[in-house]
């Protein structure tokens, strides 16, 4: 019995490596005369740990069927958008047939008000919508994390100032602010991305600040402080790794928000006119919605499905990264 217990301790209950609190074998003493290198008291275990973590993450993620569905849908959309235009081979801007052809026949999803193929538009339109969504969320995360972590870590006057700035940006309605920025600085994909990022980083900043303030007070951080760790080390090595999971979830969720915002911008005619995008197709055909439902329905459904998929995946991330978190869709 005793042997079995020690065996479990050595292999870990999961069989993936030593259990966190398993007694470790004492480091071998350096022999006399050997070079005076002190072996690390707590051996670092890079590779197996990372693998175990990834497996644990996947184990928690895959039990949520909705999140799995989201992942599959996202993979499907990603494939369709990246390979679809090449395989389908029709230029989304080219007039291929008479306007308002119904779905079926030569054009699987019909044609729009000038006779362009809707399927080609939906396939290549996703590139702009999804990449703007992704990069805008990246930008959002970068600004939010910098502002939030600085405010939370240093506190005091810097915190007060940065939170005032955050409050200021929250007063501006997101879409309206992004619209003004794009109108003034010109409708390019990069400007759209920047505008969306600049208009929506505030919630990440607040979240990052709250996490930093919470973690700053924990004992292990205090011990690092008393050991003389510099602020930079404290921020990047001590606090950030533990503050990151909820922020990652928020950033993933922000991708969905950015996709919606990009859709609205290009629907309103503020997207890059040389780039097909889902919102653009709907915006250009909106006056004929009553006569040609397919020009509205399919691109809109593409946005709907991508946003839904991103939401579900971010929810799964939440379950897998923050097992004890409350906030969740299901």
């Amino acid at each position: 019995m005793k042997k079995r217990a020690s065996e479990i301790a050595a292999r870990g209950a999961t069989g993936l490596g030593p259990a966190p609190f398993a007694p470790r074998p004492a480091p071998e003493r350096a022999e006399k005369g050997a070079p005076a290198s002190v072996p690390p008291r707590y051996p670092l275990e890079p590779a197996p740990r990372a693998l175990a973590r990834a497996r644990e993450f996947w184990g928690r993620f895959r039990v949520h069927y909705f999140s799995l569905f989201g992942l599959v849908a996202l993979a499907f959309i990603g494939l369709a958008v990246s390979l679809g235009p090449v395989l389908y081979g029709i230029d989304p801007f080219e007039i291929v047939s008479a306007p308002f052809m119904e779905p079926g026949g030569g054009n699987p999803l019909g044609t729009d008000y000038v006779g362009r193929d809707v399927l080609a538009g939906v396939l290549s339109g996703g590139r702009a919508s999804l990449s703007v969504g992704f990069f805008a969320a990246l930008f959002t995360g970068a600004i939010g994390l910098s502002v939030g972590s600085l405010a939370g870590f240093f506190g005091g006057a810097l915190d007060a100032f940065l939170m005032k700035v955050t409050e200021f940006f929250q007063v501006l309605p997101t879409l309206l602010f992004a619209m003004v920025l794009v109108t003034i600085f010109g409708p390019t994909l990069w400007m759209e991305t920047l505008a969306i990022g600049l208009a929506s980083w505030m919630s990440v900043a607040r979240l990052a600040r709250a996490e930093f303030i919470k973690i700053k007070e924990l004992d292990y951080v205090k011990s690092a402080v008393s050991a003389g760790a510099a602020p930079r080390r404290l921020i990047f090595k001590t606090i950030l790794p533990n503050a990151l999971p909820p922020i990652l979830v928020a950033a993933a969720f922000d991708v969905s928000f950015a996709i919606l915002l990009e859709g609205s911008l290009s629907f309103l005619g503020l997207g890059d006119p040389n780039q097909m995008s889902w919102g653009l197709i709907i915006g250009q055909n909106k006056n004929y919605a009553l006569d040609a439902w397919w020009t509205i329905f399919f691109p809109g459904f593409a946005i709907f499905l991508s946003v839904l998929a991103v939401c579900l995946v971010s929810d799964g991330l939440n379950h897998a990264l923050n097992p004890r978190a409350r906030k969740s869709f299901s």
Binding site: P173, L175, M179, T183, I184, G269, K286
Partner: protein, 325 residues
């Protein structure tokens, strides 16, 4: 006394925020590519040399930047948001004329969304597991994920073509009477679809929040006490838990004002509702910067006002916040 200082501080904070918006507007005008006077006149190419000279004089564009920003801030503070050279009218008048329809749309949608959301939240909290919960979860997710313009156009298709019971565009019927009750009914009929679109968008978030907040309250001791007293589950839910669970909902309603305004921009564009959103859309097309920046300022004003009202309301309904002062 402390209450007065608190109110004063809140007001000062609001004023500072608005001042910052003014500065932002100023920076945006100057950062835009091209001469600020051209930016202000709108890039229509139709502005005469006299108009340009007049703009330069009015905005003090020939003076140093530091002076200009003071001139600009003073003008905005006295209610002068500039002039739309497309409409040849002061921006303030243009905006104020468009405010009532937008507020009507926003407030009716917000009220409906809060009511529907709380009702759904109650149902979700009463049966926290099983198909009802899944259905409500799905509804709130779908409500978030569907782009506003898509929902709007789909509703337009459904109620404009397949089952035409509501008008799909505008705010008035051309032939309808413009007086009294018939006018109100006419506007209400036109309001139905835009309002429904905005409600669908927002009810989802309210239902999620209300359900979470109710479930949290239901696990507290005072609920156990209420159940121990022998109250029916309905009384526990609607009489006890609901009152406390509404606090975050009120906060949310206040915070939703900005996003709601953004939603209104899109919805008004879809349904041709003659409000601020429609004005934004038209100004973007015409590059009418004074109107655009004026609306940015005005919407910030609305949001700040909504936040102040939420604070006051919160103070009123939550006795715990009152004890602090």
């Amino acid at each position: 006394m402390r209450a007065i200082t608190l109110v004063a501080r809140k007001l000062l904070n609001a004023a500072l925020l608005l001042l910052a918006v003014i500065v932002l507007n100023f920076i945006l005008i100057h950062m835009a590519p091209g001469d600020p006077a051209t930016v202000i006149a709108g890039e229509m190419g139709g502005a005469s040399a006299e108009t340009m000279a007049e703009i330069r004089a009015r905005y003090g564009l020939d003076q140093p930047l530091a002076t200009q920003i003071f001139v600009y801030a003073r003008r905005v503070a006295t209610g002068d948001l500039g002039r739309s050279y497309f409409f040849n009218q002061p921006v303030k008048d243009l905006i104020l004329r468009r405010v009532p329809p937008t507020l009507l749309l926003m407030i009716s949608a917000l009220t409906l969304a809060a009511l529907v959301g709380v009702a759904l939240g109650l149902v979700g909290a009463a049966w926290p597991h099983g198909p009802t919960a899944h259905l409500i979860t799905f509804f709130s997710l779908a409500g978030y994920a569907a782009p506003v313009f898509w929902t709007g156009l789909t509703l337009m298709l459904a109620f404009g073509r397949f089952w035409p019971i509501f008008p799909i565009s505008g705010m008035y019927d051309v032939v309808a009477s413009r007086h009294g009750l018939s006018l109100a009914l006419d506007v209400l009929r036109h309001l139905a679809l835009p309002c429904l679109t905005l409600t669908l968008l927002n009810a989802a978030q309210f239902s999620r929040l209300a359900r979470a907040s109710l479930l949290e309250n239901l696990s507290m001791d005072y609920i156990r006490a209420a159940r121990a007293k022998g109250l029916s589950e309905f009384q526990v839910l609607c009489g006890h838990a609901l009152k406390n669970a509404l606090l975050p909902v009120v906060t949310m309603a206040g915070l939703q004002f900005g996003p709601l305004l953004a939603g209104a921009v899109v919805v008004e564009t879809v349904f041709g509702w003659p409000g601020l959103g429609r004005l934004v859309f038209d100004s973007v097309l015409r590059r009418d910067y004074p109107v655009l920046l004026g609306i940015l300022f005005f919407s910030a004003l609305l949001v700040v006002a909504a936040n102040l009202i939420t604070d006051a309301l919160y103070h009123k309904i939550d006795p715990r916040t009152r004890r602090l002062f």
